[in-house]
Symmetry: C2
Subunit: 522 residues, 2 copies
C-alpha cells in the first residue's frame, strides 16, 4: 500500500452497514471510487498446479529466454543483474526474476487522481474498472462503424466520468485518427485531465510521448506531484506496456517503461496473447508463457527503478483454428484468467486482466454473452485493474457507444456481487419472515419498507416491464435504450472544476511542444 489510505465507502471489510451504504451509493448513481471485494477468489488450480506453472515459467526464462530488442541499455541492465545475455536473448536462472520483484515491487499502491476522493488503490482486494483501450473505430446505432476522432475520445472520457461504476478514465479509449499520430497523445492526455477528475493512463507509443505524459501530470498536480515524505513523484499515471509475445519486448515499449519507472509511475506489464498464434493452444502452456514474459518485464522495471509500481498483466484470447481470427468470451481464456490471478497473488503483485471483451461487431447478444463470459470471471478471479471494462467491440477494433452504456450497467452489478452477502441482523431479515408468515407477501412488511431503496441492484437500461408496456413503448432492444441513454448523458454533462491557471499551463505546454516538431503519421 502506498503512503495514503484512501477514504472510501468500501475501504474496510466490515459488516452489513458498510455493505448497505455502499449499495445505496451505487444505486443513487454516486460513484464509488473503487471496489473492495468481500467475497473470495475463485481458483481453478490447486497448490500443485500453480507450482507447476511457476516451475514451467522458470524453465522458459532459464532455457528459452526472452528477447529484449533494439535496446542496448536494457541488455546492459540484465547483464549487470547477473542474467545470461546472448545477443538480444536474456536468460535468467530459476527464481531470479521472482526474487527481484518480491524484493522491490509494492504489493499494492495508490494511483492518485486530481480529485483525491477518486484516487484508486491498485492491488489487494480492490478492483478498479477502466474503459476499453486502443480502438481505431467507433460504432453507434446512428452512424454504424467509422474511424474514431478526438471528439469521440472526449465523448468517452465524459461518459466514463459520468459512469458511477467506472473508477478510472482509462487511456487510449479510442484512437483519434483525425490527429497526427505523433501528437495525438497531447490531446488524449489533456482530455483525461480536463473532462474528468478520475485517474488515467499515459502514452506508451514512444518514450518521448511517455515523457510528455509525465510532464503534463507534473503540471496538473503542481505542488502535489512530489511526495514530500519520499521525495519521489506520486504515482499519478498507470501505463500499458505490452510484451511482443512470444517472449519478446521491443524498444518502444521498453523505452516507455523506463521513462515511467524512473518517474515512479505505474506500468502494467502485459503479455498480449492470442493463444494458438502467440502461445501454445493450451491453458497451462499459455499461463506459463504469460507468467514468464510478465516476470521478465516486471523484473526489468524493478532493475531500472526499484520500488516503482508494477502490475502483472495478462491478456489472453483464443483464436478460431479455422480462420485464425481472435475469439472472445470462450472458456479457455477464462481458465487462463483464473490461473493468472492466483499466480499474481502468489507473486505478491497487483493483477490486470479481463474486461468486457467480445468478438461481435455489434452490440447484440453475441457481444453480451461474450462480455459477461469475460467480466464475471474477471471479477470472481480477483482482477485488480480491469481495463476494457466498457465499450469493447470487434476484438478491440471498435469502441461502441451503446456497448459502453451496456457494459457500465454490468460493471455496476459487479459492485453488488463483490460486496457479498450481508449477514447482519437486517440482512438475515428474520423479523420480516416472522411478521409475514406462510401464504402472505412481503411487499408491505416493515423490513421491506425499511430496505426498499437499497434492496436490489437497479439497472438503468434493462426493461422489466410487462410485455404489453414494452410493446407500447416501441419494442426496443437493449442497444436502442442504451442509445437514448448516452445521448442524454452527453447532453447533460458538466465538467469537473479545473484551476484555470493549470488549464492554461497545460495548453501552453502542448502548444509549445506541438510546434517544436513536424506532424507525422508514425
Amino acid at each position: 500500500m502506498d503512503e495514503q489510505q484512501p477514504q472510501a465507502p468500501h475501504a474496510h471489510r466490515a459488516g452489513g452497514r458498510a455493505a448497505k451504504r455502499a449499495a445505496r451509493s451505487a444505486r443513487s448513481g454516486v460513484s464509488m471510487p473503487f471496489i473492495t471485494r468481500r467475497i473470495g477468489h475463485y481458483e481453478v488450480l490447486d497448490e500443485d498446479g500453480l507450482a507447476l506453472i511457476e516451475r514451467n515459467a522458470d524453465t522458459i526464462l532459464a532455457e528459452v529466454g526472452i528477447d529484449f530488442r533494439d535496446d542496448a541499455e536494457a541488455l546492459a541492465v540484465w547483464k549487470a543483474a547477473g542474467a545470461d545475455v546472448q545477443g538480444e536473448r536474456v536468460r535468467c536462472p530459476p527464481g531470479m526474476c521472482r526474487e527481484i520483484i518480491r524484493a522491490h515491487a509494492p504489493a499494492e499502491f495508490l494511483q492518485h487522481a486530481r480529485n483525491p476522493a477518486r484516487s484508486v488503490p491498485i492491488g489487494g482486494r480492490h478492483t478498479v474498472f477502466a474503459p476499453s483501450y486502443g480502438s481505431p473505430f467507433v460504432r453507434s446505432l446512428d452512424e454504424g462503424r467509422r474511424y474514431a476522432t478526438i471528439e469521440d475520445f472526449r465523448n468517452f472520457v465524459k461518459l466514463a466520468y459520468l459512469a458511477p461504476s467506472l473508477h478510472h478514465s482509462g487511456g487510449t479509449i479510442c484512437e483519434p485518427v483525425d490527429l497526427p499520430v505523433n501528437k495525438r497523445h497531447f490531446d488524449m492526455v489533456y482530455s483525461h485531465m480536463k473532462f474528468s477528475d478520475k485517474p488515467f493512463m499515459g502514452s506508451v507509443t514512444h518514450p518521448e510521448r511517455a515523457q510528455d505524459s509525465v510532464e503534463m501530470a507534473r503540471i496538473l498536480f503542481g505542488d502535489g506531484f512530489v511526495d514530500p515524505a519520499t521525495g519521489k513523484p506520486k504515482t499519478v499515471l498507470i501505463n500499458l506496456i505490452n510484451a511482443n509475445s512470444p517472449m519478446t519486448y521491443d524498444a518502444t515499449m521498453l523505452g516507455a517503461a523506463k521513462v515511467y519507472a524512473r518517474a515512479n509511475q505505474a506500468t502494467i506489464i502485459t503479455p498480449f496473447i492470442l493463444a494458438g498464434a502467440m502461445s501454445p493452444v493450451t491453458v497451462a502452456g499459455t499461463a506459463a508463457q504469460t507468467l514468464a514474459e510478465a516476470l521478465a518485464g516486471m523484473a526489468f522495471v524493478q532493475l531500472v527503478s526499484p520500488g516503482a509500481p508494477v502490475v502483472l498483466g495478462s491478456f489472453a484470447s483464443s483464436i478460431s483454428m479455422q480462420s485464425g481470427a481472435p475469439t472472445f468470451g470462450t472458456p479457455e481464456p477464462a481458465l487462463v484468467l483464473f490461473a493468472m490471478a492466483a499466480l499474481a497473488r502468489r507473486l505478491g503483485v497487483p493483477f490486470r486482466s479481463g474486461g468486457a471483451l467480445c468478438g461481435s461487431k455489434i452490440a447484440d447478444a453475441q457481444a453480451a454473452y461474450e462480455s459477461v463470459n469475460t467480466l464475471l470471471p474477471t471479477c470472481l478471479a480477483g482482477v485488480n485493474f480491469v481495463l476494457h471494462a466498457a465499450g469493447w467491440l470487434e476484438g478491440g477494433l471498435a469502441m461502441g457507444y451503446e456497448k459502453f452504456i451496456m457494459d457500465v450497467d454490468q460493471a455496476g452489478m459487479m459492485h453488488t456481487l463483490l460486496a457479498g452477502v450481508d449477514l447482519s441482523e437486517n440482512g438475515q431479515a428474520m423479523d420480516a419472515i416472522r411478521e409475514v408468515g406462510p401464504g402472505k407477501h412481503f411487499l408491505g412488511c416493515a423490513h421491506t419498507q425499511a430496505n426498499f431503496e437499497t434492496a436490489f441492484y437497479r439497472s438503468p437500461i434493462a426493461d422489466n416491464n410487462s410485455y404489453e408496456q414494452w410493446e407500447a413503448e416501441g419494442s426496443q432492444d437493449l442497444a436502442q435504450r442504451a442509445n437514448t441513454k448516452w445521448k442524454q448523458q452527453l447532453a447533460e454533462y458538466t465538467p469537473p472544476p479545473l484551476d484555470p491557471a493549470v488549464d492554461e499551463a497545460l495548453v501552453a505546454y502542448m502548444t509549445q511542444r506541438k510546434a517544436s516538431f513536424p506532424d507525422s503519421k508514425f
Copy 2:
C-alpha cells in the same frame, strides 16, 4: 449413487487424456451424457455464514412453521413423525427435517433414460442441463410472440435431442395451449418418449397426471422398469414440485409429490421465490427461507417414501422495487444461488437451480447479459440439475427458438470451463514453447498441429470473421444466425429408434385414457 454407474467420458476425475477426449466429443457435436466437473465450487459464505443460515432455517421451521394446505394425509404424516401440527401449520423442532433427509435421501442417484448411454447421475460433481420449462408463449424472429402449441413442444424436444450440450429433454418445455389442459400431459410425455431418447420429466399439475406419467414410463421401459435388485421401480422421471412460497405447500403439488415418491421417482422440491414479494428483500433472508421450505418438502417426501430421490431446488429472482416486476440476471439471485449450492452440499442432497434466465422479451443483448449472469454462477456454484438451461425469455413467459440455440452454445462452453485446466504434459505444452521460441508464431508447430482439432471451444453461431466478411454476409446479428440454425436442425432431424410395439402401447394407453374423461380447461 444409484446401483448403476454410467459409462461416460466424464465419469472419472482423470488427467489430460480424459479431458481431451471429452473436449473432442463436445467439439465434434457428439453429445456428452452429462458433465463431471473437474474444478472447484465457488463459495460466497464461510462455515460460520452457512451455519447461521441453517440455524435461521431451523428457527423458521420451529417458530413460524410451514402450511400444508388441503391435504389431511400430509398433516397426518407430519403428526406421526412428531411434528407440531396446528390446523394446517406444521412446525418441526430444530434439526428434525435435516435428520429425516440425511437418514433416507440419496446423496446422488441415476435417472435412467430409455437409451442407457444417456442416463444421467444427479448429484455429486455432476451437472445436467435441461431446457426451459413452463412458458405459455413461444417467440421466433419469423413469427414474433404467440401462444405455444404441441407442434412447438415437439420442435423443442427435437432441438434438445439434437443439442450436444443438453443432457436432458426437460418437462413442460412450453405449454401446448392448443390442447385441453387436463389432457396435455399425455402428448407432452409422449413427445419426450417418441422424439428423444434423453431422460425427461413427468407431469405435476394433478396427482392423476403424475400417475399417468408413471404408467407411460412403465410402458416405455417395459421389463426394465423395475430394478430386480431392489424390487422397486428404477428412477426414470424427475419432477418439479414447487413450494407455494412463502412457507406453503398446496394439495396439487403434494399430491403429485406423493405419487412420484411412492413410485421411487425423483422430485425436485423448489421454493419458487421472487425476493421482495415472496421472501425478504435480502440474500441471507431469502436463503434461510428457501432452505426452510425445501427442508420441509424434502423431509415430507422421505416420510412418505423413505429413500425416494429428492433434489433441493432453489429458484430465486429479485423484483423491481418500482414496478414489482421480476428481474433476472441481477447479482442478488447469484449470491442466493452460491449460498444455496453450498447448503445443499452440507445437507448431502443434489441441488437444482439457475439456468439461462432473463427478463428480456427478445433475444437481444439484455437477454444474453442476464442469461450468462445466471448460467455462469449456476456452473461455478455446482448446480447438479440445471432446468431452464436453454430457451428462456421474458421471465419464463416465452420460449425462444433463437434463444434456445444461443443458450445451447453457452451450455457447450460450460463443458469446457468445468473440465478445468489440463495439466498433462501435452497440456503444459513446454515442447511447443521450446520449439517456437521468441518472436515466432505457434500456428505451424508440431504441438499446435497435434491439438488443432480439440484446441478451443468452437461456437457454431458466433461470428469471428473479419468485419468485411461479416458485412458481405449480410451484417447478421447472433439471433439471425441462430434463426438459420434451428430451421436447419429441424429440417435435418431424424428420430431415435423406438420399438413399434412400445410406441403402439403408449398410443393405446393415451387413447384409452383420453377417452375416459371429458376435456377441461383446468
